[in-house]
Protein backbone atom coordinates (compact mmCIF):
# COMPACT_ATOMS: atom_id res chain seq x y z
CA UNK A 1 0.00 0.00 0.00
CA UNK A 2 1.24 3.43 -0.65
CA UNK A 3 0.55 6.28 1.65
CA UNK A 4 -0.50 9.41 -0.27
CA UNK A 5 1.53 12.51 0.36
CA UNK A 6 -0.99 14.58 2.17
CA UNK A 7 -3.09 12.00 3.88
CA UNK A 8 -1.89 13.33 7.20
CA UNK A 9 -3.91 16.49 6.69
CA UNK A 10 -7.15 14.76 7.45
CA UNK A 11 -7.90 14.63 11.17
CA UNK A 12 -8.86 11.43 12.95
CA UNK A 13 -11.56 12.01 15.50
CA UNK A 14 -12.26 9.47 18.18
CA UNK A 15 -15.50 8.74 19.98
CA UNK A 16 -15.16 10.55 23.32
CA UNK A 17 -14.98 14.08 22.10
CA UNK A 18 -13.01 16.96 23.47
CA UNK A 19 -14.95 18.43 26.36
CA UNK A 20 -14.20 22.08 25.66
CA UNK A 21 -15.37 21.79 22.08
CA UNK A 22 -18.51 20.01 23.22
CA UNK A 23 -19.15 22.84 25.64
CA UNK A 24 -19.14 25.27 22.73
CA UNK A 25 -22.05 23.46 21.14
CA UNK A 26 -25.63 24.37 21.57
CA UNK A 27 -27.49 21.13 21.31
CA UNK A 28 -25.48 19.17 18.83
CA UNK A 29 -24.76 21.80 16.20
CA UNK A 30 -21.31 23.37 16.42
CA UNK A 31 -22.67 26.87 16.80
CA UNK A 32 -19.47 28.86 17.15
CA UNK A 33 -17.85 27.75 13.86
CA UNK A 34 -21.17 28.23 12.04
CA UNK A 35 -21.56 31.74 13.42
CA UNK A 36 -17.96 32.65 12.55
CA UNK A 37 -18.31 31.35 9.00
CA UNK A 38 -21.66 33.11 8.73
CA UNK A 39 -20.17 36.42 9.84
CA UNK A 40 -17.25 36.06 7.41
CA UNK A 41 -19.73 35.29 4.62
CA UNK A 42 -21.85 38.34 5.47
CA UNK A 43 -18.78 40.54 5.63
CA UNK A 44 -17.70 39.21 2.25
CA UNK A 45 -21.10 39.93 0.70
CA UNK A 46 -21.46 43.44 2.17
CA UNK A 47 -17.79 44.39 1.86
CA UNK A 48 -18.62 47.51 -0.14
CA UNK A 49 -20.96 48.82 2.54
CA UNK A 50 -18.84 47.80 5.54
CA UNK A 51 -15.36 48.92 4.54
CA UNK A 52 -14.61 52.42 5.82
CA UNK A 53 -11.90 53.08 3.23
CA UNK A 54 -10.88 52.00 -0.25
CA UNK A 55 -8.88 48.78 0.27
CA UNK A 56 -6.57 49.35 -2.68
CA UNK A 57 -5.77 53.05 -2.39
CA UNK A 58 -4.01 54.45 0.63
CA UNK A 59 -2.66 57.83 1.57
CA UNK A 60 1.10 57.92 1.80
CA UNK A 61 0.92 60.47 4.59
CA UNK A 62 -0.73 57.85 6.79
CA UNK A 63 1.72 54.95 6.45
CA UNK A 64 2.22 52.38 9.23
CA UNK A 65 -0.38 53.83 11.57
CA UNK A 66 -0.96 51.47 14.53
CA UNK A 67 -4.44 50.29 15.66
CA UNK A 68 -6.52 52.89 17.48
CA UNK A 69 -5.85 51.68 21.03
CA UNK A 70 -2.08 52.01 20.62
CA UNK A 71 -0.52 55.45 21.06
CA UNK A 72 -0.22 57.11 17.65
CA UNK A 73 -3.29 55.33 16.30
CA UNK A 74 -6.56 57.02 15.48
CA UNK A 75 -10.14 55.89 15.22
CA UNK A 76 -10.06 56.76 11.54
CA UNK A 77 -7.99 53.62 10.95
CA UNK A 78 -9.29 51.15 13.54
CA UNK A 79 -6.79 48.39 12.78
CA UNK A 80 -4.01 50.68 11.53
CA UNK A 81 -2.55 51.09 8.05
CA UNK A 82 0.07 49.29 5.97
CA UNK A 83 3.21 50.34 4.10
CA UNK A 84 1.18 52.20 1.46
CA UNK A 85 -1.12 53.83 3.98
CA UNK A 86 -4.02 51.52 3.14
CA UNK A 87 -6.59 50.79 5.83
CA UNK A 88 -5.97 47.31 7.30
CA UNK A 89 -9.59 46.84 8.38
CA UNK A 90 -10.93 47.57 4.89
CA UNK A 91 -8.40 45.20 3.38
CA UNK A 92 -9.38 42.48 5.86
CA UNK A 93 -13.03 42.98 4.91
CA UNK A 94 -12.38 42.70 1.20
CA UNK A 95 -9.93 39.86 1.89
CA UNK A 96 -12.83 37.88 3.34
CA UNK A 97 -14.45 38.09 -0.08
CA UNK A 98 -11.36 36.70 -1.81
CA UNK A 99 -11.01 33.84 0.69
CA UNK A 100 -14.69 32.96 0.51
CA UNK A 101 -14.90 33.07 -3.28
CA UNK A 102 -11.65 31.17 -3.84
CA UNK A 103 -12.32 28.69 -1.02
CA UNK A 104 -15.85 27.75 -2.00
CA UNK A 105 -15.47 27.74 -5.78
CA UNK A 106 -12.23 25.74 -5.62
CA UNK A 107 -13.77 23.15 -3.29
CA UNK A 108 -16.85 23.00 -5.51
CA UNK A 109 -14.82 22.65 -8.71
CA UNK A 110 -12.57 19.97 -7.22
CA UNK A 111 -15.65 18.24 -5.84
CA UNK A 112 -17.43 18.06 -9.18
CA UNK A 113 -14.40 16.78 -11.07
CA UNK A 114 -13.36 14.37 -8.33
CA UNK A 115 -16.83 12.98 -7.71
CA UNK A 116 -17.53 12.50 -11.41
CA UNK A 117 -14.23 10.73 -12.02
CA UNK A 118 -14.61 8.71 -8.81
CA UNK A 119 -18.03 7.46 -9.89
CA UNK A 120 -16.89 6.67 -13.42
CA UNK A 121 -13.76 4.94 -12.16
CA UNK A 122 -15.57 2.90 -9.56
CA UNK A 123 -18.61 1.96 -11.61
CA UNK A 124 -17.06 1.20 -14.98
CA UNK A 125 -13.93 -0.52 -13.59
CA UNK A 126 -11.51 -2.11 -16.04
CA UNK A 127 -8.99 0.00 -17.89
CA UNK A 128 -10.89 3.24 -17.26
CA UNK A 129 -10.53 2.60 -13.54
CA UNK A 130 -6.85 1.73 -13.95
CA UNK A 131 -6.08 4.93 -15.85
CA UNK A 132 -7.97 7.23 -13.50
CA UNK A 133 -6.58 5.63 -10.37
CA UNK A 134 -2.98 5.66 -11.62
CA UNK A 135 -3.26 9.37 -12.40
CA UNK A 136 -4.88 9.96 -9.01
CA UNK A 137 -2.08 8.12 -7.19
CA UNK A 138 0.62 9.98 -9.05
CA UNK A 139 -0.95 13.37 -8.43
CA UNK A 140 -1.51 12.52 -4.79
CA UNK A 141 2.18 11.69 -4.49
CA UNK A 142 3.19 15.22 -5.45
CA UNK A 143 2.99 17.52 -2.44
CA UNK A 144 -0.11 19.63 -3.07
CA UNK A 145 1.69 22.88 -2.36
CA UNK A 146 4.55 22.14 -4.72
CA UNK A 147 2.19 21.07 -7.49
CA UNK A 148 0.13 24.23 -7.01
CA UNK A 149 3.25 26.42 -7.14
CA UNK A 150 4.33 24.69 -10.34
CA UNK A 151 0.95 25.24 -12.01
CA UNK A 152 0.70 28.82 -10.75
CA UNK A 153 4.12 29.66 -12.12
CA UNK A 154 3.06 28.40 -15.55
CA UNK A 155 -0.27 30.15 -15.88
CA UNK A 156 0.55 33.31 -13.98
CA UNK A 157 -1.25 34.89 -11.06
CA UNK A 158 -4.95 35.73 -11.09
CA UNK A 159 -7.80 34.89 -8.77
CA UNK A 160 -9.61 32.58 -11.19
CA UNK A 161 -6.40 30.82 -12.17
CA UNK A 162 -5.93 30.01 -8.49
CA UNK A 163 -9.41 28.51 -8.34
CA UNK A 164 -8.67 26.27 -11.32
CA UNK A 165 -5.26 25.31 -9.96
CA UNK A 166 -6.64 24.38 -6.55
CA UNK A 167 -9.35 22.37 -8.28
CA UNK A 168 -6.78 20.53 -10.37
CA UNK A 169 -4.63 19.78 -7.33
CA UNK A 170 -7.38 18.65 -4.96
CA UNK A 171 -9.87 16.66 -7.07
CA UNK A 172 -7.82 13.52 -6.43
CA UNK A 173 -8.88 13.44 -2.76
CA UNK A 174 -12.52 13.18 -3.75
CA UNK A 175 -11.88 10.66 -6.52
CA UNK A 176 -10.19 8.23 -4.11
CA UNK A 177 -12.89 8.30 -1.47
CA UNK A 178 -15.86 8.35 -3.84
CA UNK A 179 -14.48 5.46 -5.90
CA UNK A 180 -14.18 3.36 -2.75
CA UNK A 181 -17.81 4.00 -1.91
CA UNK A 182 -19.01 3.28 -5.43
CA UNK A 183 -17.21 -0.08 -5.38
CA UNK A 184 -19.40 -1.25 -2.52
CA UNK A 185 -22.54 0.52 -3.76
CA UNK A 186 -22.51 -1.18 -7.13
CA UNK A 187 -22.81 -4.60 -5.53
CA UNK A 188 -26.04 -3.59 -3.82
CA UNK A 189 -29.49 -4.86 -4.75
CA UNK A 190 -30.91 -1.60 -6.04
CA UNK A 191 -28.12 -1.20 -8.56
CA UNK A 192 -28.53 -4.77 -9.78
CA UNK A 193 -32.27 -4.26 -10.11
CA UNK A 194 -31.63 -1.11 -12.10
CA UNK A 195 -29.42 -3.09 -14.46
CA UNK A 196 -32.12 -5.75 -14.83
CA UNK A 197 -34.70 -3.04 -15.46
CA UNK A 198 -32.58 -1.97 -18.41
CA UNK A 199 -31.18 1.32 -17.17
CA UNK A 200 -28.20 2.58 -19.09
CA UNK A 201 -24.86 2.91 -17.31
CA UNK A 202 -25.15 6.68 -17.42
CA UNK A 203 -28.59 6.62 -15.81
CA UNK A 204 -27.43 4.27 -13.07
CA UNK A 205 -24.45 6.46 -12.29
CA UNK A 206 -26.53 9.62 -12.33
CA UNK A 207 -29.75 8.49 -10.70
CA UNK A 208 -28.70 5.66 -8.41
CA UNK A 209 -25.04 6.08 -7.51
CA UNK A 210 -24.65 9.87 -7.35
CA UNK A 211 -27.36 10.52 -4.73
CA UNK A 212 -25.74 7.93 -2.50
CA UNK A 213 -22.27 9.43 -2.55
CA UNK A 214 -23.25 13.09 -2.37
CA UNK A 215 -23.16 13.01 1.45
CA UNK A 216 -19.54 11.96 1.50
CA UNK A 217 -18.65 14.55 -1.12
CA UNK A 218 -20.17 17.33 0.98
CA UNK A 219 -18.43 16.19 4.15
CA UNK A 220 -15.14 15.90 2.33
CA UNK A 221 -15.70 19.33 0.81
CA UNK A 222 -16.13 20.94 4.22
CA UNK A 223 -12.94 19.28 5.40
CA UNK A 224 -11.15 20.45 2.25
CA UNK A 225 -12.27 24.05 2.73
CA UNK A 226 -9.65 24.68 5.41
CA UNK A 227 -6.92 23.04 3.37
CA UNK A 228 -7.84 25.03 0.28
CA UNK A 229 -7.90 28.35 2.15
CA UNK A 230 -4.48 27.65 3.66
CA UNK A 231 -3.09 26.76 0.22
CA UNK A 232 -4.53 29.92 -1.31
CA UNK A 233 -3.02 32.04 1.45
CA UNK A 234 0.32 30.29 1.03
CA UNK A 235 0.35 30.82 -2.73
CA UNK A 236 -0.54 34.48 -2.28
CA UNK A 237 2.14 34.78 0.39
CA UNK A 238 4.71 33.40 -2.07
CA UNK A 239 3.60 35.78 -4.80
CA UNK A 240 2.00 33.24 -7.13
CA UNK A 241 -1.52 33.55 -5.81
CA UNK A 242 -3.94 36.43 -5.92
CA UNK A 243 -2.00 39.31 -7.48
CA UNK A 244 -1.58 42.70 -5.77
CA UNK A 245 -3.19 45.15 -5.16
CA UNK A 246 -6.12 42.78 -4.58
CA UNK A 247 -6.61 42.49 -0.80
CA UNK A 248 -6.05 38.79 -0.01
CA UNK A 249 -5.10 37.74 3.52
CA UNK A 250 -2.05 35.79 2.37
CA UNK A 251 -0.85 38.77 0.38
CA UNK A 252 -1.33 41.04 3.38
CA UNK A 253 0.89 38.73 5.43
CA UNK A 254 3.50 38.84 2.72
CA UNK A 255 3.42 42.66 2.70
CA UNK A 256 3.43 42.73 6.47
CA UNK A 257 6.63 40.72 6.61
CA UNK A 258 8.69 43.83 5.81
CA UNK A 259 7.28 45.70 8.78
CA UNK A 260 7.53 42.75 11.14
CA UNK A 261 11.15 43.29 12.16
CA UNK A 262 10.43 46.89 13.18
CA UNK A 263 7.52 45.73 15.30
CA UNK A 264 4.51 46.57 13.09
CA UNK A 265 2.74 43.53 14.50
CA UNK A 266 -0.77 44.50 13.35
CA UNK A 267 0.15 43.79 9.73
CA UNK A 268 0.81 40.14 10.65
CA UNK A 269 -1.50 39.42 13.56
CA UNK A 270 -4.79 40.60 12.02
CA UNK A 271 -4.69 38.83 8.65
CA UNK A 272 -3.15 35.79 10.35
CA UNK A 273 -5.94 35.77 12.90
CA UNK A 274 -8.56 35.94 10.14
CA UNK A 275 -7.06 32.94 8.34
CA UNK A 276 -6.89 30.90 11.54
CA UNK A 277 -10.47 31.76 12.52
CA UNK A 278 -11.83 30.77 9.15
CA UNK A 279 -9.79 27.56 8.82
CA UNK A 280 -10.49 26.52 12.40
CA UNK A 281 -14.22 27.02 11.87
CA UNK A 282 -14.20 25.05 8.64
CA UNK A 283 -12.29 22.20 10.30
CA UNK A 284 -14.59 22.08 13.33
CA UNK A 285 -17.64 22.09 11.11
CA UNK A 286 -16.16 19.42 8.84
CA UNK A 287 -15.30 17.19 11.80
CA UNK A 288 -18.80 17.49 13.16
CA UNK A 289 -20.39 16.77 9.77
CA UNK A 290 -18.16 13.76 9.30
CA UNK A 291 -19.04 12.18 12.61
CA UNK A 292 -22.69 13.07 12.14
CA UNK A 293 -23.41 12.08 8.60
CA UNK A 294 -20.77 9.73 7.46
CA UNK A 295 -19.46 7.07 9.79
CA UNK A 296 -17.48 5.55 6.95
CA UNK A 297 -15.31 8.63 6.69
CA UNK A 298 -14.32 8.42 10.34
CA UNK A 299 -11.46 6.20 9.37
CA UNK A 300 -9.88 8.82 7.15
Amino acid sequence: MSIPADVVRLPTPSPPRFAAIRALRLGDVPLVPLVILGIIALVAVFANQLAPHNPEIGSLTARFKPPFWVTGGSTEYLFGTDQLGRDVLSRLIFGARVSMVVGFTAVFFAGIVGTALGIISGYLGGWVDQVIMRVTDTWLALPALMFAIFLASIVGPSMWNIVIILGLVYWTRYARVIRGEVLSLKEREFVRLAIVAGCSKLTIMRRHILPNVINSAVVLGTLMLGVVIITEATLSFLGVGVPPPEPAWGLMLSDGKQGLMVGYWWLTVFPGGCIVLMVLSANLLGDWLRVKFDPQLRQL
Partner: protein, 306 residues
Protein backbone atom coordinates in the same frame (compact mmCIF):
# COMPACT_ATOMS: atom_id res chain seq x y z
CA UNK B 1 7.98 -11.87 -2.91
CA UNK B 2 9.86 -11.36 -6.15
CA UNK B 3 6.59 -10.98 -7.98
CA UNK B 4 5.34 -8.45 -5.46
CA UNK B 5 8.50 -6.35 -5.74
CA UNK B 6 8.35 -6.52 -9.53
CA UNK B 7 4.76 -5.33 -9.58
CA UNK B 8 5.43 -2.52 -7.13
CA UNK B 9 8.46 -1.42 -9.13
CA UNK B 10 6.30 -1.48 -12.23
CA UNK B 11 3.74 0.78 -10.57
CA UNK B 12 6.54 3.06 -9.44
CA UNK B 13 7.92 3.37 -12.97
CA UNK B 14 4.42 4.00 -14.25
CA UNK B 15 4.00 6.75 -11.67
CA UNK B 16 7.28 8.35 -12.70
CA UNK B 17 6.16 8.17 -16.33
CA UNK B 18 2.81 9.79 -15.48
CA UNK B 19 4.60 12.42 -13.44
CA UNK B 20 6.85 13.38 -16.33
CA UNK B 21 3.85 13.33 -18.67
CA UNK B 22 1.87 15.58 -16.31
CA UNK B 23 4.64 18.13 -16.11
CA UNK B 24 5.39 17.99 -19.82
CA UNK B 25 1.72 18.26 -20.67
CA UNK B 26 0.94 21.21 -18.40
CA UNK B 27 3.88 23.24 -19.62
CA UNK B 28 2.86 22.78 -23.23
CA UNK B 29 -0.89 22.97 -23.00
CA UNK B 30 -1.02 26.25 -21.10
CA UNK B 31 0.72 28.29 -23.75
CA UNK B 32 3.99 28.58 -25.61
CA UNK B 33 6.70 27.08 -23.39
CA UNK B 34 9.26 29.25 -25.14
CA UNK B 35 7.91 32.26 -23.23
CA UNK B 36 8.75 30.41 -20.02
CA UNK B 37 12.15 29.32 -21.25
CA UNK B 38 13.50 32.68 -22.34
CA UNK B 39 14.47 35.41 -19.99
CA UNK B 40 11.80 38.06 -19.49
CA UNK B 41 11.91 40.73 -22.17
CA UNK B 42 13.41 38.55 -24.91
CA UNK B 43 12.90 39.52 -28.56
CA UNK B 44 10.93 37.52 -31.14
CA UNK B 45 14.16 36.32 -32.71
CA UNK B 46 15.30 34.98 -29.34
CA UNK B 47 12.02 33.14 -28.94
CA UNK B 48 12.37 31.63 -32.41
CA UNK B 49 15.91 30.55 -31.53
CA UNK B 50 14.64 28.92 -28.35
CA UNK B 51 11.95 27.14 -30.36
CA UNK B 52 14.63 25.64 -32.52
CA UNK B 53 17.13 24.95 -29.75
CA UNK B 54 14.66 23.03 -27.57
CA UNK B 55 13.00 21.36 -30.54
CA UNK B 56 9.68 23.06 -29.90
CA UNK B 57 9.09 23.18 -33.66
CA UNK B 58 8.98 19.37 -33.75
CA UNK B 59 6.01 17.07 -33.20
CA UNK B 60 4.88 16.59 -29.59
CA UNK B 61 6.03 13.01 -29.22
CA UNK B 62 9.54 13.89 -30.43
CA UNK B 63 9.54 16.72 -27.92
CA UNK B 64 8.55 14.34 -25.16
CA UNK B 65 11.35 11.99 -26.23
CA UNK B 66 13.86 14.82 -26.01
CA UNK B 67 12.48 15.87 -22.62
CA UNK B 68 12.81 12.34 -21.25
CA UNK B 69 16.24 11.91 -22.82
CA UNK B 70 17.67 14.88 -20.98
CA UNK B 71 15.89 13.88 -17.75
CA UNK B 72 17.43 10.42 -17.97
CA UNK B 73 20.83 12.10 -18.15
CA UNK B 74 20.12 14.18 -15.07
CA UNK B 75 19.93 17.31 -17.20
CA UNK B 76 17.26 19.65 -15.87
CA UNK B 77 18.32 22.63 -17.92
CA UNK B 78 20.18 25.77 -17.06
CA UNK B 79 19.09 28.44 -14.61
CA UNK B 80 18.78 31.91 -16.18
CA UNK B 81 19.60 33.73 -13.01
CA UNK B 82 22.53 31.69 -11.75
CA UNK B 83 23.74 30.56 -15.18
CA UNK B 84 24.49 27.10 -13.78
CA UNK B 85 22.77 23.74 -14.28
CA UNK B 86 19.67 23.33 -12.13
CA UNK B 87 20.90 19.94 -10.90
CA UNK B 88 24.01 21.56 -9.46
CA UNK B 89 22.00 24.22 -7.64
CA UNK B 90 19.64 21.57 -6.31
CA UNK B 91 22.44 19.45 -4.92
CA UNK B 92 24.03 22.52 -3.33
CA UNK B 93 20.83 23.35 -1.46
CA UNK B 94 19.73 19.82 -0.61
CA UNK B 95 21.96 19.37 2.50
CA UNK B 96 20.41 22.48 4.09
CA UNK B 97 16.93 21.18 3.43
CA UNK B 98 17.82 17.77 4.83
CA UNK B 99 19.30 19.34 7.96
CA UNK B 100 16.17 21.42 8.53
CA UNK B 101 13.91 18.44 7.87
CA UNK B 102 15.83 16.18 10.28
CA UNK B 103 15.72 18.70 13.11
CA UNK B 104 12.05 19.46 12.44
CA UNK B 105 11.31 15.73 12.39
CA UNK B 106 13.14 15.18 15.68
CA UNK B 107 11.16 18.03 17.24
CA UNK B 108 7.85 16.76 15.90
CA UNK B 109 8.52 13.24 17.21
CA UNK B 110 9.63 14.59 20.58
CA UNK B 111 6.36 16.48 20.87
CA UNK B 112 4.08 14.06 19.03
CA UNK B 113 4.97 10.67 20.54
CA UNK B 114 4.83 11.51 24.26
CA UNK B 115 1.67 13.57 23.88
CA UNK B 116 0.10 10.80 21.80
CA UNK B 117 0.92 8.22 24.48
CA UNK B 118 -0.41 10.44 27.24
CA UNK B 119 -3.62 10.95 25.28
CA UNK B 120 -4.08 7.21 24.67
CA UNK B 121 -3.50 6.30 28.31
CA UNK B 122 -6.35 8.46 29.51
CA UNK B 123 -8.88 8.62 26.72
CA UNK B 124 -11.28 11.46 27.34
CA UNK B 125 -9.08 12.88 30.09
CA UNK B 126 -7.25 16.15 30.31
CA UNK B 127 -4.27 15.19 28.18
CA UNK B 128 -6.52 13.69 25.54
CA UNK B 129 -8.46 16.94 25.32
CA UNK B 130 -5.29 18.94 25.25
CA UNK B 131 -3.98 16.72 22.45
CA UNK B 132 -7.18 17.21 20.46
CA UNK B 133 -6.90 20.95 20.75
CA UNK B 134 -3.24 20.77 19.80
CA UNK B 135 -3.89 18.65 16.71
CA UNK B 136 -6.74 20.91 15.66
CA UNK B 137 -4.43 23.91 15.90
CA UNK B 138 -1.75 21.99 14.02
CA UNK B 139 -4.20 21.55 11.16
CA UNK B 140 -5.50 25.09 11.21
CA UNK B 141 -2.36 27.19 11.60
CA UNK B 142 -0.46 27.55 8.34
CA UNK B 143 3.26 27.03 8.90
CA UNK B 144 4.23 30.44 7.55
CA UNK B 145 1.97 32.10 10.09
CA UNK B 146 3.57 30.08 12.89
CA UNK B 147 6.93 31.25 11.53
CA UNK B 148 5.93 34.91 11.43
CA UNK B 149 4.51 34.80 14.95
CA UNK B 150 7.66 33.10 16.24
CA UNK B 151 9.76 35.85 14.66
CA UNK B 152 7.53 38.49 16.21
CA UNK B 153 7.87 37.02 19.70
CA UNK B 154 11.39 35.61 19.81
CA UNK B 155 13.27 37.94 17.47
CA UNK B 156 11.46 41.26 17.60
CA UNK B 157 10.24 41.43 21.20
CA UNK B 158 12.51 39.11 23.13
CA UNK B 159 15.52 39.32 20.81
CA UNK B 160 16.59 35.77 21.71
CA UNK B 161 16.80 34.17 18.28
CA UNK B 162 18.03 35.36 14.88
CA UNK B 163 15.14 35.86 12.47
CA UNK B 164 16.76 34.70 9.26
CA UNK B 165 19.61 32.99 7.49
CA UNK B 166 21.62 29.87 8.19
CA UNK B 167 24.64 29.52 10.41
CA UNK B 168 24.61 28.50 14.05
CA UNK B 169 22.23 26.09 15.74
CA UNK B 170 20.23 29.08 16.99
CA UNK B 171 19.19 29.77 13.40
CA UNK B 172 17.63 26.34 13.20
CA UNK B 173 15.30 26.47 16.18
CA UNK B 174 12.47 28.60 14.81
CA UNK B 175 12.32 27.21 11.25
CA UNK B 176 12.43 23.67 12.61
CA UNK B 177 9.60 24.41 14.99
CA UNK B 178 7.49 26.12 12.33
CA UNK B 179 7.99 23.19 9.98
CA UNK B 180 7.62 20.48 12.62
CA UNK B 181 4.50 21.97 14.20
CA UNK B 182 2.02 20.56 11.73
CA UNK B 183 3.75 17.17 11.60
CA UNK B 184 3.86 16.99 15.40
CA UNK B 185 0.07 17.10 15.35
CA UNK B 186 -0.12 14.32 12.79
CA UNK B 187 2.38 12.16 14.69
CA UNK B 188 0.42 12.74 17.87
CA UNK B 189 -2.80 11.52 16.28
CA UNK B 190 -1.20 8.44 14.80
CA UNK B 191 0.62 7.56 18.06
CA UNK B 192 -2.66 7.86 19.92
CA UNK B 193 -4.68 5.65 17.58
CA UNK B 194 -1.87 3.14 17.22
CA UNK B 195 -1.46 2.91 21.00
CA UNK B 196 -5.20 2.40 21.39
CA UNK B 197 -5.06 -0.45 18.86
CA UNK B 198 -2.23 -2.15 20.67
CA UNK B 199 -3.65 -1.58 24.15
CA UNK B 200 -6.79 -3.42 23.10
CA UNK B 201 -4.93 -6.55 22.02
CA UNK B 202 -4.76 -9.88 23.80
CA UNK B 203 -1.12 -9.86 24.77
CA UNK B 204 -1.54 -6.59 26.60
CA UNK B 205 -4.43 -8.12 28.55
CA UNK B 206 -2.15 -11.03 29.38
CA UNK B 207 0.58 -8.67 30.58
CA UNK B 208 -1.99 -6.95 32.78
CA UNK B 209 -3.27 -10.31 34.09
CA UNK B 210 0.26 -11.22 35.04
CA UNK B 211 0.05 -8.22 37.33
CA UNK B 212 2.56 -6.00 35.60
CA UNK B 213 2.30 -2.36 36.63
CA UNK B 214 0.61 0.02 34.18
CA UNK B 215 3.82 1.91 33.49
CA UNK B 216 5.65 -1.27 32.50
CA UNK B 217 2.80 -2.48 30.27
CA UNK B 218 2.78 0.81 28.43
CA UNK B 219 6.50 1.48 28.24
CA UNK B 220 7.71 -2.02 27.49
CA UNK B 221 4.93 -3.97 25.83
CA UNK B 222 2.63 -1.53 24.10
CA UNK B 223 4.95 1.29 23.13
CA UNK B 224 7.33 -0.79 21.02
CA UNK B 225 4.63 -2.19 18.78
CA UNK B 226 2.70 1.05 18.59
CA UNK B 227 5.81 2.81 17.38
CA UNK B 228 6.09 0.92 14.08
CA UNK B 229 3.40 2.78 12.11
CA UNK B 230 4.52 6.08 13.59
CA UNK B 231 8.09 5.59 12.45
CA UNK B 232 6.91 4.54 8.99
CA UNK B 233 4.85 7.68 8.69
CA UNK B 234 7.81 9.69 9.99
CA UNK B 235 9.99 8.25 7.23
CA UNK B 236 7.56 9.34 4.56
CA UNK B 237 6.95 12.67 6.24
CA UNK B 238 10.65 13.38 6.23
CA UNK B 239 10.65 13.35 2.44
CA UNK B 240 7.50 15.44 2.37
CA UNK B 241 9.09 17.91 4.79
CA UNK B 242 12.03 18.40 2.47
CA UNK B 243 9.58 19.26 -0.26
CA UNK B 244 6.98 21.38 1.51
CA UNK B 245 9.37 23.56 3.46
CA UNK B 246 9.04 26.31 0.82
CA UNK B 247 7.14 28.79 2.95
CA UNK B 248 9.13 28.16 6.09
CA UNK B 249 12.37 28.56 4.17
CA UNK B 250 11.07 31.79 2.65
CA UNK B 251 9.98 33.21 6.00
CA UNK B 252 13.32 32.44 7.62
CA UNK B 253 15.48 32.96 4.51
CA UNK B 254 16.81 29.41 4.96
CA UNK B 255 18.91 28.44 1.93
CA UNK B 256 17.26 25.08 1.12
CA UNK B 257 15.51 23.76 -1.98
CA UNK B 258 12.26 25.44 -0.97
CA UNK B 259 14.02 28.77 -1.07
CA UNK B 260 15.46 27.75 -4.44
CA UNK B 261 11.93 27.11 -5.70
CA UNK B 262 10.88 30.53 -4.40
CA UNK B 263 13.81 32.20 -6.15
CA UNK B 264 12.72 30.34 -9.28
CA UNK B 265 9.26 31.88 -8.94
CA UNK B 266 10.34 35.42 -8.16
CA UNK B 267 13.04 35.62 -10.86
CA UNK B 268 10.72 33.87 -13.34
CA UNK B 269 13.43 31.25 -13.68
CA UNK B 270 11.32 28.42 -15.03
CA UNK B 271 13.96 25.65 -15.32
CA UNK B 272 14.47 25.89 -11.55
CA UNK B 273 10.75 25.58 -10.81
CA UNK B 274 10.35 22.63 -13.15
CA UNK B 275 13.51 20.92 -11.87
CA UNK B 276 12.60 21.20 -8.19
CA UNK B 277 9.09 19.85 -8.84
CA UNK B 278 10.31 16.92 -10.94
CA UNK B 279 12.96 15.92 -8.41
CA UNK B 280 10.57 16.35 -5.49
CA UNK B 281 7.91 14.19 -7.10
CA UNK B 282 10.41 11.53 -8.10
CA UNK B 283 11.86 11.47 -4.58
CA UNK B 284 8.45 10.85 -3.06
CA UNK B 285 7.41 8.18 -5.56
CA UNK B 286 10.66 6.29 -4.98
CA UNK B 287 10.48 6.52 -1.19
CA UNK B 288 6.91 5.22 -1.36
CA UNK B 289 8.22 2.22 -3.31
CA UNK B 290 10.83 1.52 -0.61
CA UNK B 291 8.19 1.75 2.08
CA UNK B 292 5.92 -0.65 0.19
CA UNK B 293 8.73 -3.17 -0.15
CA UNK B 294 9.77 -2.75 3.46
CA UNK B 295 6.19 -3.36 4.56
CA UNK B 296 6.03 -6.55 2.52
CA UNK B 297 9.28 -7.78 4.06
CA UNK B 298 7.99 -7.12 7.58
CA UNK B 299 4.42 -8.26 7.06
CA UNK B 300 3.79 -11.31 4.85
CA UNK B 301 0.04 -10.60 4.79
CA UNK B 302 0.59 -7.60 2.55
CA UNK B 303 2.48 -9.43 -0.14
CA UNK B 304 0.11 -12.38 -0.16
CA UNK B 305 -3.02 -10.30 -0.24
CA UNK B 306 -2.55 -8.54 -3.57
Amino acid sequence: MGQYIARRTGYCLLSLFLLSLTIFFFVRVTGDPATLLVEPGASDADIAAIHHQFGLDQPLWTQYGLFMWSLAHGDLGQSFYYQTPVMELYLQRLPNSLLLAFVAMALSLLIGIPSGILASVQVGGFWDGFGKLFSLLGLSLPSFLVGLLLILVFSVYLGWLPSSGAGGPLNLIMPAFALGWYFAASHMRLTRSSMLDVLGSEYIKLARLKGLPQSLVIAKHAFKNALIPVLTLAGINLVIMVNVAVVVEVVFAWPGIGRLLYEGITFRDFPIVQGVVILGGAMIVIVNLFVDILYAVIDPRIRLES
